[in-house]
C-alpha cells in the first residue's frame, strides 16, 4: 500500500506538470458547460496537441499511437490534467471502447493505420450497439448484416449513438443469423460512417441538446476484412468492449462533488456562506464519502489491472454511484438557490448555470451505457453470483422472440 510515486513516476509527473502548465487552459472559478459545437472543436484541438506531445492513450503501444506506458502513468496523467479546464475525456468512447476492440480483433495493418488516427482524434469513432427494440436487452438487436461475396450488407437502425454526427468510423454489432438463439447470432464489425447508406439523425433530448443520435443503415457496406472476431462471436466481443467502457468511464464520470463544494463556499444564505449551515454540511459529508470512495475504488481497480488483472464488473460501481449523485447534487444545489434556482441564464446563475443544465442532463447519464438497474443486475449476477432472472426467450430461435413496443 503506497500512494507515493516511485522516483520514475515522480519524474513523469513533473514532466507532465510542466507540459500542462505550458499548454493547458487554467480552470476559471465560474466554470460551466460550453455549447456542443464549441466543445467538439475544443476537444479535437486538445487531443491533437496531446498526441503531438506524445501523451495520447498512455497505455497503448507506441506503434499504435500510444505512449507505451502503464495504467499508473495514465492515472498520473488523469490526476494532473483534471486540475485544468481541458476536455480530456471527450473521445472516451472511441479510445476507451473501440480502441480495445481493434487492439484485440483487427489485423496488424488496420491497427497501425487506424489506431494512431484514433489516438490523435483525427478520426472520431462511435459505438453502435443500442437499437429501438434493444436497450437494456442489447442482445435483442435486429440490425441485419448479410454476406454478399466478400462484403456484408447492413440494414437497420441504431439509436443513442453518442457522437455519431462527428464520427468517421463506428464499431457495430449486427444480427447475422436469426435461426439460432439470440446470443449466438451476432457479429461485430467496424464500419465507415461517411459512406452512402449511413444516415445520422440527431435526437433532440429533454435538455434541448443533441448529444445522441439515431443512425439508419440502408444497404451500407462493410468489407469482410472489417469483421472483428468470429462470425457469430459478436456477443463475447461486445462484452469485452463494455468491460473496457466501464473501466474507461470510471475515471471520468462526473459525480458533481467538486462543483458543489465550490458552490457551498460562495453561495450565501441569510448573509452567510451556505457551507456554515449544518444541514448542508451533513449532505456535503455524505457526498464527499461517495466522491472519495469512487476515486479510491478506481485506484484499487487500476492497481489490479496494473498487476495484470482484467477490469471486473466492479467497474459498474463508479457509474452507478456517480450518475445518481450528480443528479441529486444538481437538484439540491437548485434548492439552495431557492427562487433564483430556476434561472438558467448563463450570466446570472452560478458557474454559468452548471447546476440548472446538469439537473436536466443528469437523467440521461443514469440511462446511458447501462441503466442503474442494469448496473445493479451486473453487480448482483457477475460479482455476487446471484441467480439470473428467469428469461422467457431462453432456448428460442431469435426470429421467434417478440420484442419492442407491441401496441
Amino acid at each position: 500500500m503506497d500512494f507515493k510515486d516511485t522516483p520514475e513516476q515522480a519524474e513523469f509527473r513533473k514532466e507532465v506538470q510542466a507540459w500542462l502548465k505550458a499548454n493547458a487552459t487554467a480552470k476559471t472559478k465560474d466554470g460551466g458547460r460550453t455549447s456542443q459545437e464549441e466543445a467538439y472543436e475544443r476537444a479535437k484541438a486538445w487531443y491533437q496537441k496531446v498526441y503531438d506531445a506524445g501523451y495520447a492513450c498512455p497505455t497503448w503501444p507506441k506503434e499504435y499511437g500510444g505512449a507505451g506506458l502503464t495504467q499508473i502513468h495514465k492515472v498520473i496523467w488523469s490526476q494532473e490534467v483534471s486540475k485544468y479546464d481541458e476536455p480530456d475525456g471527450y473521445f472516451v468512447i472511441g479510445q476507451g471502447n473501440c480502441g480495445p476492440a481493434l487492439m484485440h480483433f483487427a489485423s496488424e495493418e488496420q491497427k497501425t493505420t487506424l489506431l494512431p488516427r484514433m489516438a490523435s482524434a483525427e478520426d472520431v469513432w462511435c459505438q453502435l450497439f443500442s437499437e429501438p427494440s434493444a436497450g437494456s436487452d442489447v442482445a435483442g438487436l435486429r440490425t441485419k448484416a448479410e454476406l454478399k461475396g466478400d462484403k456484408w450488407i447492413v440494414n437497420g437502425q441504431k439509436i443513442w449513438t453518442s457522437g455519431a454526427q462527428h464520427s468517421d468510423y463506428g464499431v457495430i454489432l449486427c444480427r447475422t443469423d436469426t435461426e439460432v438463439s439470440k446470443y449466438r447470432g451476432m457479429t461485430m464489425f467496424f464500419i465507415d460512417m461517411k459512406q452512402p447508406g449511413v444516415d445520422v439523425q440527431p435526437i433532440k433530448q429533454m435538455d434541448g441538446g443533441s448529444h445522441f443520435n439515431e443512425v439508419f443503415f440502408n444497404n451500407a457496406e462493410i468489407p469482410d476484412s472489417q469483421r472483428l472476431g468470429e462470425v457469430g462471436g459478436g456477443w463475447g466481443a461486445a462484452l469485452l468492449v463494455l468491460m473496457n467502457e466501464r473501466l474507461a468511464i470510471s475515471g471520468v464520470q462526473p459525480d458533481g462533488f467538486p462543483e458543489f463544494f465550490e458552490l457551498v463556499q460562495t453561495l450565501e444564505l441569510d448573509g452567510e456562506p451556505v457551507v456554515n449551515n449544518p444541514v448542508v454540511r451533513d449532505r456535503l459529508a455524505t457526498w464527499y464519502t461517495r466522491h472519495a470512495g469512487i476515486k479510491a475504488s478506481t485506484n484499487r481497480m487500476l492497481t489490479a489491472v496494473a498487476k495484470g488483472g482484467m477490469p471486473g464488473a466492479e467497474a459498474a460501481l463508479g457509474k452507478l454511484v456517480g450518475a445518481v449523485m450528480n443528479q441529486d447534487i444538481a437538484n439540491y444545489a437548485l434548492q439552495l438557490m431557492a427562487d433564483t434556482g430556476a434561472i438558467c441564464d448563463d450570466a446570472l446563475a452560478p458557474q454559468k448555470a452548471h447546476f440548472q443544465k446538469s439537473v436536466l442532463f443528469a437523467p440521461g447519464i443514469r440511462l446511458a451505457g447501462g441503466t442503474d438497474e442494469v448496473m445493479r443486475n451486473i453487480i448482483a449476477e457477475q460479482v455476487l453470483g446471484l441467480p439470473q432472472e428467469p428469461r422467457a426467450d431462453k432456448g428460442m430461435a431469435f426470429k421467434d422472440i417478440p420484442s419492442g413496443n407491441q401496441h
Binding site: 463544494f261 457551507v275 454540511r281 459529508a285 464519502t289 475504488s297 492497481t303 489490479a304 453487480i379
Partner: protein, 370 residues
C-alpha cells in the same frame, strides 16, 4: 502507486480468517451475547498467544514490529467474526493512547505488558451524552489521586487498567489507573451489543500516573481517535461482508413463488446496493490505512471519511440482511441481529456519525483553505 495490501499482509489476513472461522463461530459469540461471560477469555488468550495485540508495537517494546497495515487486516477479520474480546479497548485505544501520550520510560514498561496480554487496557473519557468537551470535564486529579465518574467505557468492567481523561490544575491530561484498586467501583451497563459491553467507572481518590508526554491533549485525542477510526472501519467492513454473505446464502437457498428468492430483482438490487456501500467503505478504509501507516498529513480527512463511510455501510448491510431474511431475520435464533447490534455498537464508539460528519467537513474546508 500501489493501492492494495502486500502478499505478506494478505497471508496474515488469511491466517486470521482461518483461525477465527474455526474458533470464533457465532455459536461461541452467543455465549457472550447471552451473558454467560463478560468476554471470551479463552479466545482472548489464544489471540494473545498469536501475538495480535503486539502487531503494531515496536520490537524493542515487546511488540512484533509489524505495522498498522497488518493490524488493519486483522481488524477486518475480528469484525467479520464478531469476536467478543477486548481488542478494540486494549489495542486500538489503550495501547495507542500510551504510544501517543506516555514518555519513553512509561512506554518501555507498559507496552510490553500490553503486547503480551499481561493486562487488558481500556479508555475512559466520556462523562455524559454528546461530543466530548475538554473544558467541561468533571473528573479531576489532585496530589496524584483521581476522582470522578466515567461512562460508556468499552470493556471497562473487565479491563485491568484504564487510561482516564481528567483535569489537573485546569489542564486536561491522560492518567493510567489500576482498576483493581478498592477506590474504583465498576458497574456493568446494559449495552446494545453485549459482546462489546460498556461500563460505568467511579473513581474515589484513586492513585493515578500521568502519561508524561501529553502536551496538546486535543491534538493527541484527535490523533488517537483518527487511528482508531481507521481500525474500526476495517472491523466494520468485515462485518458488512459477513452480513452480505449471510443474506446471499439464505436467499439463494430459499424458494418462493416457485423460484429462488435471490433471483428476484428486488432482492438482487438490494444486495447490489449493499455491495456498493461496502466497496465504497472498503476503498475509503484502504485510503485511511495508507494515511495511517504512512503517518501522512491526510490522516485526519482520510480517517473521518473512512469512519462515516463504514458507519453508513454497516448500518445498510446489517439492516437489509434482516429484511432479506423476512420474519426469520427478526428472531433471536437467527444471527442477523448479531451484525445489527455490532453495527450499532461500532458506530457509537468514539462519537457517532453526526460528530464524524462535522469533523469531515471541518477538515475538508481546512485543506481547501490551506
Amino acid at each position: 502507486m500501489n493501492f492494495d495490501f502486500s502478499e505478506d499482509q494478505k497471508f496474515i489476513q488469511e491466517q486470521a480468517r482461518n483461525f477465527l472461522s474455526s474458533e470464533c463461530t457465532t455459536a461461541r459469540v452467543r455465549q457472550t451475547l447471552e451473558g454467560e461471560q463478560a468476554y471470551d477469555q479463552a479466545l482472548w488468550q489464544q489471540i494473545v498467544e498469536l501475538g495480535w495485540p503486539a502487531t503494531a508495537i515496536a520490537e524493542d517494546q515487546g511488540g512484533l514490529g509489524l505495522g498498522y497495515l497488518e493490524l488493519c487486516v486483522i481488524a477486518e477479520e475480528l469484525g467479520r467474526a464478531l469476536a467478543p474480546v477486548p481488542f478494540i479497548a486494549s489495542v486500538y485505544l489503550a495501547a495507542e493512547a500510551i504510544k501517543l501520550g506516555a514518555d519513553k520510560a512509561q512506554q518501555d514498561s507498559w507496552l510490553p505488558q500490553l503486547a503480551a496480554g499481561e493486562w487488558i487496557g481500556c479508555l475512559a473519557v466520556q462523562e455524559k451524552p454528546g461530543a466530548l468537551k475538554l473544558g467541561q470535564l468533571a473528573t479531576t486529579v489532585t496530589d496524584g489521586k483521581l476522582s470522578g465518574k466515567k461512562t460508556a467505557v468499552l470493556h471497562g468492567a473487565i479491563a485491568d487498567k484504564a487510561v482516564v481523561l481528567a483535569t489537573e490544575n485546569d489542564q486536561p491530561g491522560l492518567y493510567l489507573v489500576d482498576l483493581s484498586a478498592s477506590s474504583v467501583s465498576r458497574k456493568s451497563l446494559t449495552s446494545i451489543d453485549p459482546t462489546l459491553p460498556l461500563a460505568e467507572l467511579t473513581f474515589d481518590a484513586v492513585a493515578a500516573e500521568k502519561l508524561a508526554d501529553c502536551k496538546d491533549i486535543q491534538t493527541l485525542l484527535d490523533t488517537l481517535y483518527d487511528r482508531a477510526a481507521v481500525l474500526l472501519a476495517f472491523e466494520q467492513i468485515g462485518g458488512c461482508d459477513a452480513a452480505l454473505a449471510m443474506g446471499k446464502e439464505y436467499t439463494v437457498g430459499r424458494y418462493a413463488f416457485g423460484r429462488q428468492v435471490a433471483s428476484f430483482q428486488a432482492i438482487k438490487h438490494k444486495f447490489a446496493d449493499m455491495f456498493v456501500a461496502t466497496e465504497l467503505a472498503r476503498s475509503n478504509a484502504y485510503y485511511g490505512a495508507w494515511a495511517l501507516s504512512a503517518d501522512d498529513a491526510e490522516l485526519p480527512l482520510a480517517a473521518a471519511t473512512a469512519r462515516v463511510s463504514a458507519i453508513d455501510a454497516y448500518y445498510e448491510c446489517s439492516k437489509e440482511n434482516i429484511q432479506a431474511h423476512g420474519g426469520m431475520g427478526f428472531t433471536w435464533e437467527f444471527d442477523c441481529h448479531l451484525y445489527y447490534r455490532r453495527a450499532q455498537a461500532l458506530s457509537l464508539i468514539l462519537g457517532g456519525n453526526p460528530q464524524w460528519k462535522e469533523l469531515l467537513v471541518e477538515r475538508l474546508l481546512r485543506i481547501k483553505a490551506a
